[in-house]
Symmetry: C3
Subunit: 330 residues, 3 copies
């Protein structure tokens, strides 16, 4: 099935998948590099999935060209969707003017509001809220406790995790001299196809127009996407990353944890932002950036490394000053 | 209605509001500055709301003294509250000892516990939880999936967004030498009038006494307010900002994303904190601060800019050391 | 009851506990240090709990050896669990194949899925979701709106706060050259005994094997624990702290707000991380660390303090260069 070469007994039984340091003689693990391989040999794990070029090992093994991909295939084999009864649960609240296509399931205590459209095979799990005029694409799943406030369009094959909130009002206020006047937020949220929105993340609706997370982009837990922003295709955004309002980001963004953008900045395609990077102005050249303000990676590494040596640096400066005084007075 | 001057045909129909770069010939946009105006002229948007002093433009326009305010008025015109059936939904769970004033609505699967008081025209949406002895002020709305654990007082005209959690226990533990002993948290949360609490934000209840978010203050999504803290009036606090426990903050705070305070600090009125500022000691002078530890803005800009030039700076130091050796040995 | 010495009238009535600056003549406060004591004497609070060595005060007082512990005892006296009707609420949805032990309560609109096990005296509050094959230990409480997606084991006497999400998929994708391929996540989450998981925090399930938060560890609100990570016993982790995937952490960790780890790092026992520390490599020596990259505390303080003086530092460098030119040309 994996197209690999079996190294060991044909009838060795494998009951489950495990990490390389597992003590489970009935499990197979994946050893993508030498460290993994050493761990797997030291631990009690039963069998190993390893690269073709690996040396012979004293355990049953399967050798494949791309062990990581092969392991993902095995994982997919044992994976199964969250349990779900098909059909609309008798304890769901579905508005009569909502449209449910073929194969749609709605769980207990879920709410589907007026004007919502659930396309083919959509699953709305327990406690999920699908607000007015939301449109959920074919095969997407709205997990327990996900909230689509209203006017949220979700593409096909998406997963919205528990606690994610899509379509809450953007954070727009204007100081009148006495108080913060609310700028009404009347826009939408548009989520592309094959998008994942992690647990407790938030994507605000636009003041007008739309806030966009485009095809294939994956958001980790606890990510914030401000109103009017547009994230391109096939990006990944890690936890606590904050995209401020009206940010425009290209395709294939990789944004590490706690990184953030100032509002109204533009970031081109193929940009990677290291952990906690602060983007305060446009990034026009693809590449890897780090630090605050964001700098090309190599430069940031040098600066951040030096910042951790400032004490030594300062001592040398003071010493130089004393030497200078001596020289000047001689 | 806007008190503006019409520049163009009287009968030009406007169907909706749009951003200045929208390609919608039936929309009107707002051009507050030259860049917006250029975008609006380049794009397919039908009409423009612009300042009185703007030059004539080749599109239908309305000229007003304050185009931003006028646009907010238009936005308010097209805004409408989240759909809601009036009255208590048959699938809501309202304790018989809860008090519901005139005009109160409670959505499906919402829970209102014993001793809760919902004042005139309060709306508790689907899946919201209003715990024991919570008191919600006139006209406030508790959106789907908002949670008021218990002993939370909310003023008038507030909006609590989905996933916000008010009144969970403060984070108080004491190390006994063997384990973390919980300090019971028996206090309350008090939210003033006209407050907004963003999606998935948290405001913990006090150990005793109360945690306060005062009148007119707006919290973005994913904000944390620790126990016993007090935030003054008319502030704005952006995403991932963290107010530690027992912090006392004055009026009109502006706190940008990911900024944070150490616990027990005090911050006076009229303070602005830049993105990711770390406040580690009291701030007694109004003004704008940035950096960690928080510094007056101009100083922080210089320091942070120099930190991004440390490599160059270090090279110059090394060069000076070599020159000094030469001088000293001559 | 507190084993203390009464200083003042025997019949002075105390109605409640209050902070030391409260204006409540019927309350008793706790004064652990001189500042608290001064506040308590200045304010209108009625009585004071103070250390045995404190001087006589002009208010009724109780003197004890450890006033903080004594106050915690008083707090525990007035604390009571969130109200709950015993038994399974008629509006709960409990799968027939779930197992509920003696004394279990399930609130309105709560969902308990197939194969779940709720042990003795477990309380599942309103709107909570306990997914397939979750196992909740004796006396634990799952508060309103907490979500256990599936395959989550929770020990005894735990509290899972509202909006916490345990067992969502780990964030694992592989770039194929065209898109992000999802690595299926088929592992579990294991929470030890006496653990607290704060509001809106997230603990992802492992790719395979388990993600662990061990006995006695307390998570604040809005904390993220990545897949495959293991947190030891009796730690405390504050808001916005992010533990990346496959991190291994020892016992008694203290992690302040917004601190974070790179993935795959290991941190030994008895480590304290200051606010916003960024751990990018293993920490093998117990102690206190701060800064990014994480440095021993004293060193970090010096470096961070100097970083706030870079402007001065740079001026001195420039001046030295000019002086050097003068010396060289003479």
């Amino acid at each position: 099935m994996l197209g690999g070469e079996l190294r060991g007994p044909k009838d060795f039984p494998v009951a489950r998948l495990a990490p390389s340091d597992a003590d489970d003689p009935t499990a197979i693990c994946f050893a993508g590099n030498e460290e993994h391989l050493r761990k797997a040999l030291d631990a009690g794990v039963g069998a190993i999935l390893l690269p073709t070029e690996a040396p012979p090992v004293p355990k049953p093994a399967i050798a494949v060209a791309a062990p990581r991909d092969a392991f993902a295939k095995l994982l997919a084999l044992v994976d199964r969707p969250l349990r779900f009864d098909s059909g609309v649960h008798p304890l769901a609240s579905v508005h009569p003017a909502a449209v449910l296509d073929e194969g749609v399931s709605v769980g207990p205590f879920a709410v589907v509001e007026e004007g919502a459209r659930l396309r083919k095979d959509v699953r709305v799990y327990a406690h999920a809220y699908v607000g007015e005029r939301c449109d959920i694409g074919e095969g997407s799943q709205i997990l327990p406790h996900a909230v689509l406030v209203r006017d949220v369009q979700v593409g096909a094959r998406c997963t919205i995790y528990p606690g994610a909130v899509l379509g809450a009002d953007g954070f727009g206020f204007e100081w009148t001299g006495e108080h913060r006047m609310k700028i009404p937020q009347v826009g939408r949220v548009r989520i592309g196809d094959d998008v994942e929105i992690g647990a407790n993340s938030a994507v605000d609706r636009a003041t007008m127009g739309e806030t966009v997370v485009d095809d294939g982009t994956k958001l980790d837990n606890l990510v914030q996407i401000g109103h009017n922003s547009r994230i391109g295709k096939h990006g990944v955004i890690a936890s606590f990353a904050g995209i401020s309002g009206s940010t425009v980001i290209g395709d294939r963004l990789v944004m590490a944890g706690q990184a953030a953008t100032s509002d109204h900045v533009e970031i081109t395609d193929d940009v990677t932002l290291g952990g906690r990077t602060g983007v305060t102005s446009n990034i026009e050249v693809p590449g890897t950036y780090w630090g605050t303000p964001a700098q090309p990676f190599g430069q940031a590494v040098r600066n951040i490394t030096l910042a951790a040596r400032l004490t030594e640096f300062y001592d040398r400066l003071k010493k130089l000053e004393r030497r200078m005084e001596k020289v000047e007075s001689s």
